[in-house]
Amino acid sequence: MKRLLLAFICLSAVVQAQAPDRTRPPQSGPPPTLKLPGIQKRALSNRLPVWIVERHEVPVVHVNLVVLGGSGDDPQGKFGIANLTASLLTEGAGSRSALEIADAVDFLGADLETNSGSDSSAVRLNVPVARLGAALPIMADVALRPTFPQAELDRQKVQRLTSIIQARDDPSAIDQLAFARVVFGPTHRYGTAQAGSAQNISAFTVEDVRAFYRATYQPANSAIIVVGDVTPDRVMPLLETSFGKWQGGSASAQHPTYQAAPLPAERQIYIVDKPGAPQSQVRIGWVGVPRSTPDYFPITVMNTVLGGAFSSRLNLNLREKHGYTYGAQSQFDMRLNAGPVVATAGIQTDKTADALKEFFLELNGILQPVPADELTRAKHYVSLRYPLGFETTGDIAARLEQAVVYHLPDDYFSTYVQKIEAVTAAEVQRVAQKYIVPNKFAVVIAGDRAAIEPGIRALNLGPIKIMTVDDVFGPAPAVPR
């Protein structure tokens, strides 16, 4: 029957002269190259750098003030202070209260977001360009003249402590923090949530916030990124008015460096019990690399083969072949200090042990040479879509922020594609063998212990340690009412 049908299709193909040849996929022409948006580098009279990229398709603009200090700079005992400081910037500034700032910003149809990550903090304005002149002074107040009212600090504390209570209910959040705590420990900054522990949060004072602000938010430590429907001639005078008189002390001290824990002598399994959970949240990995690694490009290609794309090995195996999960991935989280490398998935509870077997099959498999066609596909996946990642003003602003924070070279964007394409199979194998260490990686699982422990034990992967939610988050916070 199938043959008959095929013959019929062939016949109709003859009749319909236009029917296309579907026997092989159409070939694509030469790939388009990246037309890099020109970065116009200027500075204000106080030497604050300004990077401008013009994009005139839509009448909106991003203005991002990037400050080179983040939670990685939190002092010992004050984990969470960078994150709290950034949040409090919009809670009172200049002559305005928190509600007045929000009203003024919303009335302009603007978004004004403050945020801190591991390595930097930022005040980001996104506004219809017609209202840029009205929005910039508010942004400058928020960035340069925050008032840090005590009542707002108290509000933020309750908000944050309540968030921890909520995170303690969420298997995904539990596993993420449990993994960080196992790999980095309690004194390394990356072993505690960006917002800090309940103990940290409860102890913060306005003076803590002011001290972090003074040490970090300095013009010598900052840059402004502008992307959108503006010209330098139009935007520079506005920026000069709002930010040109910003003076401060010397640039901040060196960022703290953290000595990451060495690989353990043997593989350890950690289980956080979530009775009745229908899935096990699984994370497998250890300390990876800093953003400055010379292995950035080979690692990017290797991770794409392993778990960075839909057709990566982990996903094809755990999802498409076995149906154990909705999706499996791997990732290198690169920061100023070495961040984690992790393979992860949410696995249906009764397949947890089976899935661990497949995880380790793939983690061991990536140590072997990658076949040429698979390598080429991974390289093309990364390199050929790279030019598409400069589409929106937000995309471009985010990439420029990365360039500022990690001191990427001027030719970074223009040479990215060729550097990916130049990665060899030997380099991929070398970085896999260097950074993927299946027999020593930690395995951290949040799931139904009674249901999964026997199967995991039978795999003999290593000693099993049971963690409680308190081990992960510290004691449950008491929230002021």
Partner: protein, 449 residues
């Protein structure tokens, strides 16, 4: 959704200078539209900002078309659309696209299923080939085995997105509480586990033949294209797909709540949460836009009425949200709030009801309404930047075409909000948010009294 991830050349009638406030900026999206002989509607839109082409296919079928005992099937079917077709073996769809630097995904809602492919512009023909092959020849490749494989994936999607997520089960219950048994919005899009187990290969054949006809779909090709060349390519790849009768229009009687429906469930959470929901007019019907304004007045930003009282002043809630969920047959308006430790949903409900009553009796001041309009207007500009993917321009053109017959309905849509007055906002709250005709769903911590 196939895999959860996370996301114009606008011709501007008014110059976007500092004085643009005087005349409202008009948003227009130039496009070309034509229909193939087999009934497929095609919409083309040029944007050369980056060398990207996005194909965006909407099939006008969603979970509302499912039959009893087969809930979740429209979404399971969506997964099968990535498993290969007559001339594409399982695995090759993603293999080939990733090999040219492409990405793709799809999603299912009550009323529609969408699929998009983003590729560098040199690979446009590969995207059209793949999209057309699964429209024309899916059944040459689908087998009971592919159904089996994706059934397990979809069950894990349900576990990950709902069952193992705090408060996830509440989302699954809302439809059941709002819509009567038999109404096409009564069951959740993700479906019930036993129905996912029961789905068969025969169901796939039937569903494909009934709903995946070219005349029941619309295709947008947007980005770095030449419209004339692209039209020829679309005709080449989609022209030979056989026409088939589309489904009869869906026809359901109007629905209304006649009283308060209360339900309390427990979950593995420590903080109680309340959901208040009302049945409201369909997308683009009178009242729909006003309810977006009501949502912004209630919970859009720190100065919104509910945020300010519950979270900022009284500090008895951790969060509050309100939105009008606009849908084709019937919309609903939802308010949800999570209690802080030591506080109860009754405390939250009391304040929420006070604020609704206040909005119903006192006309908002002009500043508040203008703030909402400005926020919504800015969101329209921001929606003009991305071509492909979920919520990109291609997706929006298809959404507007599907809902109104006009792909470039941006300006008409925005005009609905620009025309709003404070008394319109109040009137919508009066008419559509009666305190005595709604759903009250409470999630309580397990073991709590």
């Amino acid at each position: 959704m196939k895999l959860a991830t996370l996301l114009t050349s606008v011709a501007l009638a008014a110059a976007s200078s500092a004085i643009a406030q005087t005349a409202p900026t008009k948003i227009e999206l130039p496009y070309t539209q034509f229909t193939l002989a087999n009934g497929l509607t095609v919409i083309l839109h040029e944007d050369h900002a980056v060398p990207l082409v996005s194909t965006n296919m909407w099939y006008h079928v969603g979970s509302a078309r499912e039959k009893p005992g087969r809930t979740g099937f429209a979404h399971l079917f969506e997964h099968l659309m990535f498993m290969g077709s007559g001339h594409v073996k399982p695995g090759e769809f993603d293999d080939w696209l990733e090999g040219v630097g492409g990405t793709n995904n799809g999603s299912t809602e009550n009323d529609r299923t969408n699929y998009w492919i983003n590729v560098p512009s040199n690979a446009i023909e590969l995207a059209l080939f793949l999209e057309s092959d699964r429209m024309g020849y899916l059944l040459d490749s689908a087998t009971p085995k592919t159904v089996e494989a994706q059934r397990d994936v979809v069950k894990n999607e349900r576990r990950q997105s709902y069952e193992n997520r705090p408060y996830g089960q509440a989302e699954l219950l809302l439809g059941e509480l709002l819509y009567p048994e038999g109404h096409p919005y009564h069951w959740p899009v993700i479906g019930y586990m036993p129905d996912l187990t029961a789905a068969s290969y025969e169901d796939v054949v039937e569903f494909f033949k009934k709903y995946y006809a070219p005349s029941n779909a619309s295709l947008v090709v947007a980005g770095d294209i030449n419209p004339a060349t692209t039209r020829k390519l679309v005709e080449k790849w989609f022209g030979d797909i056989k026409p088939a009768p589309g489904p009869e229009p869906i026809n359901v009687p109007g629905v209304a709540l006649t009283g308060v429906t209360k339900k309390t469930v427990t979950d593995k959470v420590q903080l109680p949460r309340i959901y208040l929901a009302w049945l409201t007019p369909p997308h683009f019907a009178p009242g729909d836009a006003a309810l977006d304004m009501v949502a912004d007045a209630l919970a859009g930003g720190k100065n919104s009425r509910l945020y300010k009282r519950l979270v900022y002043e009284l500090q008895i809630a951790q969060d509050v949200q309100a939105y009008q969920a606009s849908q084709q047959l019937s919309s609903y308006f939802l308010i949800q709030a999570t209690a802080r430790p030591g506080h109860t949903v009754d405390e939250l409900k009391k304040v929420i009801d006070e604020e609704i009553a206040k909005l119903q009796t006192v006309t908002p001041d002009a500043h508040e309404t203008e703030r909402s309009i400005n926020t919504i207007e800015a969101s329209f500009f921001k929606r003009m930047e991305q071509v492909g993917g979920f919520g990109g321009k291609a997706d929006q053109l298809n959404a507007y075409y599907t809902a109104t017959g006009d792909p470039d309905y941006f300006n008409e849509d925005l005009s609905r909000y620009r025309a709003m007055s404070p008394s319109d906002v109040r009137a919508a709250a009066v008419k559509f948010l009666p305190l005595d005709r709604r759903v009250e769903l409470t999630v309580m911590p397990e073991g709590a009294k």
